[in-house]
Symmetry: C2
Subunit: 477 residues, 2 copies
């Protein structure tokens, strides 16, 4: 028993130290490990399998909207990065530079892509000729590098995995529609698959992507009340097209600039899964994304017939992602291990259960135990996984609602921000000065101007001038 | 008609200039394009979709043998690369070096991974403790960089996509078994999915991987009689384990070194598909790997009901990867375009066909036309795709057989190598001197010592000393 408890004790409790809890879960659930290069990660099988499920599900949704996958080079020549002024200013300070190829110095140094707008633009400039070539709706799955100073597994690392979609359209309207369409793909994916509710909205000019005309975001609320930007979609207008000369001959034979978008989701979202659903026993995975949905744990497995029965149940549950833990560890150890790993549903089967033609089902999210007849096993497992998925979303929504506040005055705003971790809705005049002052004095940043606007008051909470927008504010990862 | 012919005319014929034919096909079938960084590629949708199918099929086969996917960092610190002597000698001359992160010079320069043995070893050294942790059977899908001097799309590029499996085992025997197991996975995949027959064998010491105890290879023969190394599997013994201190506590509590393997297949194999199956009309794709297996081309599509019929057939063929070409190009143009892209089967449907309740099926590989009743469409398409797949393998096997020669004397060897492009089987004494002399004087390299050995003669064709092995020799990509 002492040994069984050890595994759980190794996790700091959320309340004691949320940051340490996060690191403990990442480590103990074997999602990733630190690499020999500072700020880079080794994504281990349990973590990578989550990413594969995210990829499969997102890729399917992308393709249903006409997306085609491609692969662009890892390297960007410095002169290419330099072409769009805002973009290079935003990214140049945090890129890694390749200066030597083999034993020779390079004539021009190359940066390791921090994002690939410049590469796609360079390609589109050669590849797009007429209106018949539009739209181009390309995406790539790859890794990117940003030389961050402080790093944390999944949340902020010098290299991370992501997808980046890059599209080119004939009209501004079409580009805007694609920008919003992909934001909705992300938001639906988060809710339906990850059981994470998000706030959809537009970033302020201060927070938008370097080179974008408008950036849209989905913002999720973590268990500790901090926000996590979980996906973004950018409308570039024709800014990049002008910098890179991406033109097409329209039906009227006139040369016109294309309108572009880009959009991305990264391994960061694994951090969101951990921090939205996890608890003091470790990871809690929504069934739809869990690499293992059901774990069968034989009790008294040395007794005759128990292991065989476990394998038989596995066969019967082959419609799910199912595993038998037939290692020689104690059942207690196995229980806490599969809790740590966040496996949604545990099936316990021992001699007593066999005698009664039953099994014990234990939900990871609520620890609730149900004894079910083996005749009903497939149905029970199926409906219980559905219930876990929908209950997890319900709880996450309730948590978000309970931690979303509003403030109409400066005093109220400061008090809420300092005492109640969560989103704070407040009116804003639209000036960068107020945004910067709010950040400086409270540590809160504008998360987004939500699509669902409310008129909480007439004046900006900061300068008391007429308000233009309601903004979600919060401290963020 | 002139316009229709243009597309085909744009390809150089194989006989005229095979290298130019290859480049033309890559370009005209829109598989990939050159990037702004010399020697790097942009893999376009038609090329990337082939890679996705290769990935899906290989990944499924890997996982069936217990492989787990992970992700290792892009960068390797110089000191880590330096740890295994042979390995660093083999790779250091052709790596790209990162020397700056953001605005600061790095304390230690980092190379962009040319392969990840050192990263996996570094990780395994920390992650493996006891015999319970073995075997580790990990794989990653990623891109790697090798600063090649001369480059060609897919065949040799400075960055390419691949998978690299890295395993650690308790015993030498288990490592050897895994090495051969994965070589067999590759060989079976090539034959069953890509319709490419391969010769399986072991590389000579001169040709083996830097740091390996033994390297095994699958060698395929291209249409022009040159060989292409299509996949390799390496047994490292405990060499890397000793250099990186990868040890485990065995059941008897003694500390032992693990035995390791690695194995990889890259986008290079797309070059093999092109050069084994292609013809003067362009690409020819085996049905099992073709992103589009069936293309439906409406004839006289402006006539009432034709387009609707085409869409109806598409619905009926939804069990296949099927597309309708409903663009406003002429049917002739569409025909040569789908030939260029290598789509295995074309279905033509026009008013006359509709009146007769029939469609015309045209095989890409043989250009054979068959009129089939629409009542039989699904069955006919299904069996014709099967036939195409097996016929393509049969032809490739015949081509390989017809271009595999043997030689028992130096004179015969030189004559065959110079007059008959293909594999030449010949006896070898096992010395590096002879191997080097053969390469110098004929341009042929040892492709492998095949598993299926024959005793063609008693003496080495080069030095006439007693022969140890029969070797496949050939000029290679």
């Amino acid at each position: 028993m002492a040994k069984d408890k050890k595994m759980v004790e190794a996790i700091t409790s959320m309340e004691e130290d949320f940051a340490q809890w996060y690191t403990d879960v990442v480590k103990k659930a074997e999602l990733c490990d630190y690499a020999s290069v500072k700020g880079c990660m080794v994504i281990k099988p349990a973590g990578y399998a989550i990413w594969e499920n995210i990829q499969n599900e997102l890729d399917r949704r992308f393709k249903a909207t006409g997306v085609q996958n491609v692969y662009m080079p890892l390297f960007i020549p410095e002169s290419l990065l330099d072409k769009e002024k805002d973009h290079v200013e935003g990214f140049a300070p945090e890129v890694a530079w390749v200066t030597h190829g083999g034993l020779e110095p390079l004539q021009e140094r190359l940066c390791v892509r921090p994002t690939s707008e410049t590469l796609f633009c360079d390609f589109y400039a050669k590849d797009i000729h007429s209106y018949r070539d539009l739209p181009r709706v390309y995406n790539q799955w790859c890794s990117v590098v940003r030389w961050e100073k402080t790093t944390r597994p999944f949340l902020r690392s010098r290299e991370f995995l992501w997808q980046e979609g890059h599209t080119a359209h004939a009209t501004a309207q079409e580009a805007q529609e694609r920008t919003i369409q992909m934001l909705n793909v992300y938001a639906d994916f988060c809710e339906e698959v990850l059981a994470i509710p998000v706030v959809k909205g537009q970033k302020t000019d201060k927070e938008k992507f370097a080179g974008a005309e408008a950036t849209y975001t989905i913002e999720a609320l973590m268990h500790d009340g901090k926000a996590l930007q979980s996906g973004t979609s950018h409308n570039f207008g024709d800014g990049f097209a002008k910098a890179f000369e991406v033109q097409y001959a329209d039906k009227d034979n006139a040369l016109k600039y294309v309108h572009q978008t880009s959009w991305g989701v990264s391994t960061r979202i694994i951090g969101a899964i951990i921090m939205v659903h996890g608890d003091d026993n470790g990871l809690v995975l929504p069934p739809k994304i869990a690499p293992v949905q059901v774990i069968i744990i034989p009790v008294q497995q040395q007794k005759e017939g128990v292991l065989d029965k476990a394998y038989e149940l596995k066969e019967r549950l082959s419609g799910f992602r199912v595993k038998v833990d037939d290692t020689d560890k104690s059942p207690g150890w196995k229980f806490s291990e599969c809790e740590m790993r966040g496996i949604p549903l545990r099936v316990e089967i021992g001699p007593k259960d066999m005698a009664n033609n039953q099994a014990v089902l234990v939900r990871r999210d609520t620890h609730e135990k149900t004894v079910v007849s083996l005749d009903e096993l497939e149905n029970q497992v199926s409906s219980m996984l559905d219930t876990i998925q929908s209950d997890m979303l319900k709880r996450a929504k309730e948590h978000q609602k309970a931690h979303t506040y509003s403030a109409v005055s400066w005093e109220e705003f400061v008090e809420v921000i300092n005492s109640k971790p969560g989103f704070v809705k407040a009116m804003w005049c639209g000036s960068r000065e107020c945004e910067e002052k709010i950040k400086e004095e409270t540590g809160a940043t504008s998360r987004c101007m939500p699509f669902e606007q409310e008129r909480l008051a007439d004046t900006c909470i900061c300068c008391k001038k007429p308000a233009k927008k309601m903004v979600y504010w919060g401290r963020a990862y």
